[in-house]
């Protein structure tokens, strides 16, 4: 009898919960305000960054306060699945109105016609756009994006642990080895397939820094001798146990902030994030000490979703973002990154961050992390390359065979 009562109790409770769920679900849909205000969403993985995220949200608030007809809200999409999620949504005719893409996904979206042309939305000639990064925003004469952030890669180092930064690759490896003791590691980089996009960013510096390239513009050159040399250097450091193996970027970056990692190759955006984690950390930057002065750059364009019903209003936001005073504010939020237009570093910025000129001086030798000539196929090529490089790191194949396989697989992909 007791059991029967209990069962009826469960049934009643379940029905009640179901009813509540249904009612609440009905209340959960989104909608326009109906007061003539166009509500737009802006998706950027940067909104999740400690330090930068809250400041960017305030920057959006400033836009909203300056407008009566357009409101932009941050659409937080988790970084690990950002590209895949947003491309799926855009591919099906939905998704955020404004998107801050990384270059590989930008190229794929642009090639697939998912990005609205911007030529009618903004008059590019009106602005003093940075030429080097901006050239990648235009495809076949059509502008598809505007630089939101351009950030060169440099070597971050803990100045308390490393009084004099290494200037050659040999010094770099010997510093990494000598620092690795106890719970301190000389270096850190991403090395798992779960962080595919991040591994690609990290190995990019080794390939280009040793004179290699992913293509010659017409053919893939994944298994070229120069690439093998660069990636062998990457693997040697992995094998030397100078990095916290298995630690993801979130973990080893906090370790860097806590003085547990000596050096890291990263981009200018990392400055604000590092200070956000430990304002007292005594760190500075220097150019990456590899044989060739050529490194990756995070180019992050802002684009308008072709499927957006508020393209003109989205254009209003981009025009507001390109206004000089808003560019300066954005640059201060982004740290040592550059923005779309030429801006002057203020005396206060240079005093607080004396190494800003190091980043600025790298602009001419920095390249976006895409495969030139095969831009739209970059995400696919990236997957193949990272899979094979990680397999080599883990001892499942020797590096040369892994690169040969990557070359073959990627060539079939782009054929």
């Amino acid at each position: 009898m007791g059991n029967q009562r209990a069962r009826f109790g469960i049934a009643r409770a379940t029905c009640a919960l179901g009813l509540v769920a249904t009612l609440l679900t009905g209340c959960g849909s989104d909608g326009d305000s109906g007061d003539g205000v166009t509500k737009l969403t802006f998706a950027a993985s940067t909104f999740g960054d400690p330090g930068r995220g809250p400041l960017l949200t305030k920057w959006l608030d400033e836009f909203n306060q300056s407008q009566t007809k357009v409101q932009v809200s941050a659409a937080a999409v988790p970084y690990p699945t950002f590209g895949q999620t947003v491309l799926t949504q855009m591919g099906s005719g939905k998704g955020p109105d404004l998107v801050r893409f990384d270059m590989p996904e930008f190229e794929a979206a642009s090639d697939a016609g998912l990005v609205a042309p911007l030529d009618k939305v903004i008059d590019a000639g009106k602005y003093d756009l940075l030429k080097q990064p901006d050239q990648f925003m235009v495809h076949d004469g059509v502008r598809h994006g505007v630089i939101f952030e351009a950030s060169n890669y440099a070597m971050f180092y803990n100045a308390d642990l490393i009084p004099t930064p290494p200037t050659t690759y040999e010094q770099f490896t010997s510093t990494a080895k000598s620092l690795t003791k106890g719970d301190v590691f000389g270096l850190a980089f991403r090395q798992t397939e779960a962080e595919e996009a991040g591994v690609w960013q990290d190995i990019f510096n080794y390939v280009y820094g040793f004179g290699g390239a992913w293509s010659d513009g017409k053919n893939l050159t994944i298994n070229s001798p120069e690439n093998l040399k660069g990636l062998q250097a990457f693997k040697d450091l992995y094998d030397a146990n100078v990095i916290p193996r298995g630690a993801d970027a979130a973990t080893f970056r906090r370790m860097f902030a806590e003085g547990k990692v000596g050096m890291e190759l990263n981009n200018g955006g990392y400055v604000t994030a590092t200070r956000g984690q430990n304002a007292k950390l005594n760190f500075t930057v220097a150019p990456i000490p590899f044989p060739v002065r050529k490194q990756g750059a995070i180019l992050a364009p802002i684009v308008i979703n072709e499927a957006s019903e508020g393209k003109d209003e989205a254009g209003t936001f981009i025009k507001w973002a390109l206004e000089p005073q808003n560019q300066v504010k954005l640059q201060e939020i982004l740290g040592a990154s550059s923005v779309a237009t030429t801006t002057q570093r203020s005396a206060e910025s240079l005093k607080a961050t004396p190494f800003l000129p190091v980043f600025d001086g790298l602009t001419e030798t920095s390249l976006p992390q895409i495969v030139l000539g095969f831009e739209a196929k970059t995400p696919d090529i990236r997957k193949v390359v990272v899979q094979n490089v990680v397999a080599a790191l883990q001892g499942k194949a020797d590096l040369k065979s892994a690169l040969d396989r990557a070359q073959q697989q990627a060539t079939e992909l782009v054929r």
Binding site: I10, A21, T25, G28, D30, A76, A257
Partner: protein
């Protein structure tokens, strides 16, 4: 006497070990949430929580987002549980008791759906849900989660109904009961433990689901906690303490639900054991 004491001690140790294995991840999450930055990467990890860091929980809840995420997760999980169990009972009953054309094929198809990864279905379902205007709504997530969990619910309940002697139903029918009455008055009470078990499966599936939630929901106010937690993973950093605090809060309703239902599973399993 000594042997008795040894036996008791061994049992206590065994219970503590099992308890430790089960509870330790939760405890470690709590300790990590309440650790300072320097403690996180110290040579000797801190084994006890630093209660001075309790503000991380207050901050996580004060911003209002975490509470909203948890409520959304609860709605999705309860909705999925009600829908999938509600549909799974008659489906399981039909598969168990009725003969119809294509029954074997249907059973195989149900099994086949369990072999498809969610990621494979995201794009086609996205297009379908867009057409039916089910994107960006909790209803859509309840439906898609139910679709994924219903086959396993139905197959488990079919197996449970298979175990009930048909004579019971025949006797009920002889007394004038219709199939629906037979199902609700005879079978459902007898398979209550299996229903409770499938309710747990459905609840946990929907509670933890991520792939559909991250793709189908655009409005941040409608995001469930599984997506909300992932939002903390930034391009350049992740506030580990905050993530752990929200993750700890995320596990509590699920654990509470399991503890609530678990006793019915056990009581149902032992019901009738001494009768006869």
């Amino acid at each position: 006497m000594r042997r008795f004491r040894f036996g008791v001690t061994a049992r206590i140790v065994a219970v503590l070990v099992v308890l430790g294995v089960a509870v330790f991840p939760l405890y470690w999450m709590f300790v990590t949430a309440l650790s300072s930055n320097s403690d996180l990467f110290a040579d000797q990890p801190r084994l006890t929580p630093d209660l001075g860091q309790f503000g991380v929980f207050v901050d996580a809840l004060a911003e209002g987002k975490a509470a909203g995420w948890l409520l959304n997760s609860l709605i999705i999980a309860v909705g999925t549980m009600v829908l999938s169990v509600g549909l799974g009972i008659p489906l399981g009953y039909a598969l168990s008791r009725f003969s119809f054309w294509g029954k074997a094929v249907l059973t195989v198809v149900l099994l086949f759906t369990q072999m498809l990864p969610e990621a494979l279905m995201v794009v086609p379902l996205f297009a379908l849900f867009r057409r039916f205007e089910l994107l960006d709504s909790l209803t859509g997530l309840i439906l898609v989660n139910s679709a994924f969990v219903l086959p396993i619910v139905a197959l488990i309940l079919k197996g449970a109904i298979d175990g009930i002697p048909k004579e019971l139903e025949e006797a009920a029918r002889a007394d004038g009961a219709r199939p629906f009455t037979t199902l609700t008055r005879i079978n459902v009470p007898l398979i209550a433990p299996s229903i409770a078990a499938t309710a747990v499966i459905a609840f946990f599936h929907a509670w933890n689901e991520y792939v559909f939630a991250v793709t189908f929901i655009f409005n941040p106010d409608l995001q469930p906690a599984s997506v909300g937690i992932a939002n903390f993973i930034g391009e350049l950093g992740t506030p580990i303490q905050t993530v752990m605090a929200v993750a700890f809060l995320f596990t509590l309703p699920a654990v509470a639900f399991y503890l609530l239902v678990q006793k019915y599973v056990v009581s149902g399993m032992t019901a009738g054991a001494v009768k006869g």
